[in-house]
């Protein structure tokens, strides 16, 4: 909840419908139903009198404070809409597919096969600064060294922190293929003696084409290793050696073909899907038992023991006996100091033994992906970007805001039109970060329709917000219509009459315009504004004192009510509300004279945030797209009545702990 007040979030209905149900989908296609079948009828709100249906809907009231609701609340612009299911889709109810990999720096697409073999970093000239992560530029030094045009040594230079590859003593002969040049430089320097077999290794993610090659490589490598034992492997070669070693170990130790380790690790060890299978290993107990030698069922022959890497050729790295001492000596020396040590952030993406700033190598830029998104239940494509990385267009993009009205909330400033608060009236605007409790605030809720059909909207809200801080909420006009998103010119052409009328009502009756129950505040081409009346409740710091005083008189125990957790975990919501309702009048008027000192230890985090759950139900007539082909003549029967209902949460502001 990091947005500034006031904000509006929508709750994706998927929180209440855990499993996508194909039958429900079919039903909704024929006659669109309410999205959550747990709420069979929407709350009927007759003219702002919500007391009765609040009791009906009490157990279904969306609680913005419950721990679960965090996962279903999204800003409206982040939601998608499935035209097949007629439902809002949040990031939890879609699946994503990678369309392409590309480098954000050079916008070159990388084929996914190459990503698999070479790793997900740009293979060309794009690098980030190892010191400060700013992008590095390939620059020439020809100006200084006096070489010819486009000649001379090239370096990578950071424009921000002025790091260059000369800081680590590297320069390049040509300005292209920097990555391979850099690889050759670092590789030949680190493992010169044994680099013969590993020069063809481009990255730790690369794999051998066949098993034979792999064995051949390891055998020749081991010979080399025998010859030059103390030569250290560079980290990438060491990783490759370790990987080979364990692959062989797994192949050898998994004797039986039914052993899950065999096919899982041996074949698909390097494939990205292996992780799923590995994870499923730990979830299923039968596999787990077989992993540990099958203790429960038939005792197998003694499982072969996997050994660890023993030699340098297998990837074992034994640091030199004085390695630690030399590092410490280097740290202590004057030319290193604190600034010469690489920070944790810098070491994250570097070789594991890079301890000093001089050890840092430029980092190739991480690739990014473009993804298409599908509805999880009906596989309908919701978002499909263009394939080219250079293009920012979308072929398909069904965002929710083109189907549901966009809610915006703003305080109603008396004496000015809400949209344009003048300088004089801005002082009258309530401070949303410190709302005085028990003082009525009027808010304007605007719903803007982006559909081409007019929509009838019914709003419902519990009269008292759930949670310990009970704020009273009244929607003055809970049922209204929003016009269709017709041609923009319609409003402009009609603008003379409407504008005059509005101007007179605004200009003349600037101070006379008062929110009335049952009447829409303002209305435009495709938007409607209604007034919400909110009485913020008092914070438990204040109520506790009052409550204690009240209950001391009655001799009741107070600990249970004041120290329990918010949000009704374990405690049902209406109990909470009921007790707060009881406590509120006791504080409200009798506690006026006391000093309600803020007691932050009793206030849960964010409990002072005033959030109003509002149930939105919209009805509209839309063209029946299924029957459109058969019926040529357009009639009224072509239109289908649709409805959509969802919860939305309006964040009004923070309640001031002090009663003013």
């Amino acid at each position: 909840m990091s947005r500034p007040f006031p904000y509006a979030y929508l709750s994706c209905p998927c929180a209440d419908t855990p499993m996508p149900d194909p039958s429900r989908k079919r039903r909704s296609r024929e006659s669109p139903q309410k999205p959550n079948p747990e709420q069979p009828h929407p709350p009927k709100v007759p003219q702002g009198n919500q007391e009765e249906d609040e009791e009906q809907e009490e157990d279904q009231t969306f609680d913005p404070r419950s721990p679960r609701s965090n996962f279903s609340l999204y800003p409206p612009e982040q939601l998608l809409y499935c035209e097949d299911c007629h439902q809002i889709k949040c990031p939890r109810c879609i699946t994503e597919e990678i369309v392409c990999w590309y480098c954000p720096s050079c916008l070159f697409e990388t084929p996914s096969s190459m990503v698999r073999s070479e790793g997900n970093r740009c293979a060309r000239n794009c690098f980030n600064c190892p010191a400060c992560t700013a992008p590095l530029a390939v620059t020439t030094l020809e100006n200084v060294t006096g070489g010819g045009s486009q000649q001379g040594p090239w370096v990578l230079a950071c424009g921000y922190c002025m790091w260059t590859t000369l800081d680590i003593g590297i320069k390049f002969d040509k300005p292209t293929n920097i990555r391979t040049q850099l690889f050759k430089l670092t590789d030949s320097s680190r493992g010169r003696q044994m680099s013969k077999t590993f020069t063809d290794l481009k990255s730790p993610l690369s794999t051998y084409a066949s098993i034979d090659e792999q064995f051949a490589a390891s055998s020749t490598e081991s010979k080399n290793g025998d010859l030059a034992e103390p030569a250290p492997l560079d980290p990438e070669a060491q990783f490759a050696a370790l990987k080979n070693f364990y692959k062989n170990q797994i192949a050898e130790t998994s004797s039986s073909p039914t052993d899950p380790l065999g096919p899982d690790f041996g074949a698909g060890f390097s494939s990205p899907g292996a992780l799923n299978r590995i994870m499923s290993l730990y979830t299923s107990s039968s596999r787990l038992s077989s992993l540990y030698g099958g203790t429960s069922k038939k005792p197998k022959s003694k499982p072969p023991v996997m050994r660890e890497a023993l030699t340098a050729s297998e990837g074992l790295k034994t640091p030199a006996p004085d390695a630690e001492d030399t590092i410490i000596q280097r740290m202590v020396s004057d030319d290193c100091g604190w600034d010469g040590l690489a920070s944790l952030e810098q070491r994250t993406f570097q070789a594991p033994d890079a301890r000093f700033v001089e050890d840092l190598l430029p980092l190739p830029v991480l690739l990014r992906t473009k993804r298409s998104k599908r509805c999880k239940s009906c596989k309908h494509i919701l978002v499909k970007p263009e394939f080219k990385p250079q293009s920012t267009r979308f072929r398909i993009r069904l965002i929710a805001l083109s189907y549901i009205p966009l809610p915006t909330l703003r305080p109603l400033v008396p004496g000015a039109h809400g949209g344009l608060p003048t300088v004089s009236s801005s002082s009258l605007a309530p401070n949303l970060d410190a709302l005085p409790p028990l003082r009525t605030v009027q808010l304007l809720l605007t719903l803007k329709n982006h559909m081409f059909d007019p929509v009838r909207v019914t709003l419902a809200t519990p009269s008292v917000t759930p949670g310990r801080v009970a704020s009273k909420v009244t929607i003055l006009c809970p049922q209204f219509d929003i016009g269709a998103n017709s041609d923009v010119w319609d409003e402009a052409l009609q603008g003379t009459s409407v504008g005059d009328q509005r101007a007179s009502s605004r200009g003349g009756g600037l101070y006379e315009k008062v929110a009335e129950a049952g009447k829409v505040w303002d209305k435009g081409r495709n938007w409607t504004t209604v007034v919400l009346e909110v009485v913020p409740g008092t914070l438990p710091g204040g109520t506790a004192g009052a409550r204690r005083r009240v209950q001391q008189a009655t001799g009741a125990d107070v600990g249970g009510t004041t120290t329990r957790a918010r949000g009704g975990d374990g405690i049902s919501g209406d109990d909470d509300d009921g007790s707060d309702d009881d406590a509120l009048p006791a504080l409200d008027w009798s506690g006026q004279g006391q000093d309600p000192g803020p007691q932050p230890q009793q206030l849960q985090p964010d409990e002072d945030v005033l959030e109003i759950p509002v149930f939105v139900r919209m009805e509209w007539d839309s063209d029946n797209q299924i029957d459109q082909e058969q019926s040529v003549g357009r009639q009224n029967a072509d239109t289908v009545k649709r409805e959509l209902a969802y919860w939305m949460v309006l964040g009004v502001g923070k309640i001031n702990p002090k009663i003013v």
Binding site: V144, L166, G169, S189, D339, G340
Partner: protein, 244 residues
Amino acid sequence: MDPRQSQHLKPPPAHYSRSSSQSSSASPSPSPSPTPRAPVTIHPTATIADTAIFHGTHPISIGAGTIVHPRARIYSYEGPVIIGENCIISEKVSIGAPPPSPSSAPSPSSPSDGIPIRISSAVTVGPSASILPGAHIHSAVVVEALACIRRRVSIGAHAKVCAGCEIAEQTVLKEWVVVWGKGEGFGQRRRIRAKGVVSSPTSTAQGLQSLEGRVVEEARLMALKREREALSRLVAPVGGGKRR
């Protein structure tokens, strides 16, 4: 710089009337006394925008080839300001402390007891940076946009203060140091630029003779020279302010 005050170059009156009127509108002081004009010594080859402001009681001197962008404010209330050769002072830079507001008439202290601001040659000061009295900035330093150099700071040659970084009072930055990074969780960091031949394990194993890190800095200074040449045509005052 004091002997040069004899050849005190008189700026055109239009420039001064404008600057004083600007300052009076900017700081509406109740006292009718005009803001004190600082005794300014400007080398003939320097380029000063006509909306730059020079206020204060102590002398201000600007060296050859230096460019002062529009709306730069140079205050010498607390001590003299000495700007060397071939510097670039960008827009809205504030050098020196603005006049103390309660007593708009600053005490006419003698130049000897003021704390000077010394900016050596080939220094670049980015837009909206601020440099407070007592700063001593050596040659070829880069102070980027919105950086803040507090009082009595000494910055060594070829150092760089990256954008938005703040150098605390009485700090001494060594030569070739880069101060960078800002924000929560990461904080300010320092780094020493390589100026000589670096013998990293990579280059020694490679067996190649690497270049000195200094060449990058030389290339930068050459680019800076070209930038100054272009700027002197752009920034130069339009009407009669050309002092060449």
